[in-house]
């Protein structure tokens, strides 16, 4: 009985105080957050990454520019004192859309022959090709004009100058 009283009177309070002291030594979430903010300033890979801390668990959200940046951000946070776990929910920034393909203009060498092929069934039509510009002279039936044009436009000319007389 006396032994029990000694335990409850001396040891138990000592244990409780020790536990309180120990727990107060653990970094608070706000300290972790401050550390993350400090690291962020010197870690460009963390631009766009948002970190939230709850009971020592850090959750990363936002956008990382690539896998390497994602790994660096995760590692930088993991080593902070007091961090128990890092949940990395960062998404990768989608790559920018490719720039529009430049306009392809056929060189005169194949173009001249291809225009001749495309116009050969229209006896009244004369064609001339210079620097990618197709100039059409002569005459054509109205009914044939669209078909001829549809053919010529697939040859990748720079421009089609239609001077045809339409009958």
């Amino acid at each position: 009985m006396r032994k029990y009283q000694w335990f409850s009177g001396r040891i138990l309070p000592a244990i409780v105080i020790a536990m309180l002291l120990l727990s107060s030594c653990k970094p608070k979430d706000s300290d972790i957050q401050a550390s993350i903010d400090a690291i962020r300033k010197t870690t460009p890979e963390m631009t766009g990454v948002v970190a939230s801390v709850s009971q020592g668990v850090v959750t990363l959200t936002g956008e990382c520019k690539d896998d390497a940046a994602k790994a660096i951000s995760e590692k930088a946070v993991t080593v902070i004192k007091g961090v128990k776990q890092v949940i990395d929910n960062c998404t990768l920034t989608p790559p920018p859309p490719p720039p529009p393909a430049s306009v392809v203009i056929a060189p005169d060498d194949p173009l001249t022959k291809e225009v001749a092929d495309a116009t050969k069934d229209y006896p009244g039509v004369h064609s001339d090709v210079k620097d990618g510009v197709v100039t059409l002279t002569g005459e054509i039936k109205r009914a044939d004009l669209k078909t001829l044009m549809m053919g010529l436009h697939t040859l990748k000319p720079k421009k089609i100058d239609n001077q045809l007389t339409i009958k």
Binding site: P100, A101, S102, V103, K113, E114, A116, D117, A118, K120, D121, D144, L145, K146, T147, M149, M150, G151, H153, T154, L155, K156, P157, K158, K159, I160, D161, N162, I166
Partner: protein, 139 residues
């Protein structure tokens, strides 16, 4: 008025009738429109709009290169010459010897595409050779 505004109805139509890989670029006062039409009718419709916006295609400020995606190896195509037979040649070029003919409105089989102008085809009679793509309409 910019070319993009002048031909807005054309590019809008291209979007609405399902032209894929559509690219519209303006360079040196010419509007270049490229893409693939799902069928011949869609391409035709686009050309009708173009003809409406630029009567008789006089302005010379558009180059519209639209291919028809159903023009694929194995597909069948109709010979759409004006009235005459379609020449089938030994090679891709009008300087190549004629090895056969396909009648107006005949159906042929597309074998392979040489370029935008020439296709290797096979007639119903079994003749193989190169034909000018302008006179082949996908079915």
């Amino acid at each position: 008025m910019s070319l993009q505004d002048k031909y807005k109805e054309l590019t809008d139509t291209a979007g609405s009738i399902g032209i894929v890989n559509l690219q519209v670029r303006e360079q040196d006062n010419v509007l270049y429109i490229d893409g693939e039409a799902p069928n011949g009718a869609a391409k035709d419709k686009l050309w009708d709009v173009y003809g409406k916006l630029d009567p008789d295609f006089r302005s010379g400020d558009v180059v519209m290169n639209i291919n028809v995606s159903t023009m694929a190896p194995g597909a069948r195509a109709t010979v759409t010459t004006q009235t005459s037979n379609l020449n089938i040649r030994k090679g891709p070029g009008t300087d190549q010897p004629i090895v056969g003919k396909a009648a107006h409105n005949d159906t042929v089989t597309l074998i392979s595409k040489t370029n935008d102008q020439w296709w290797l085809i096979r007639t119903n009679a079994g003749e193989e050779g190169y034909a000018f793509a302008q006179y082949l309409s996908p079915q």
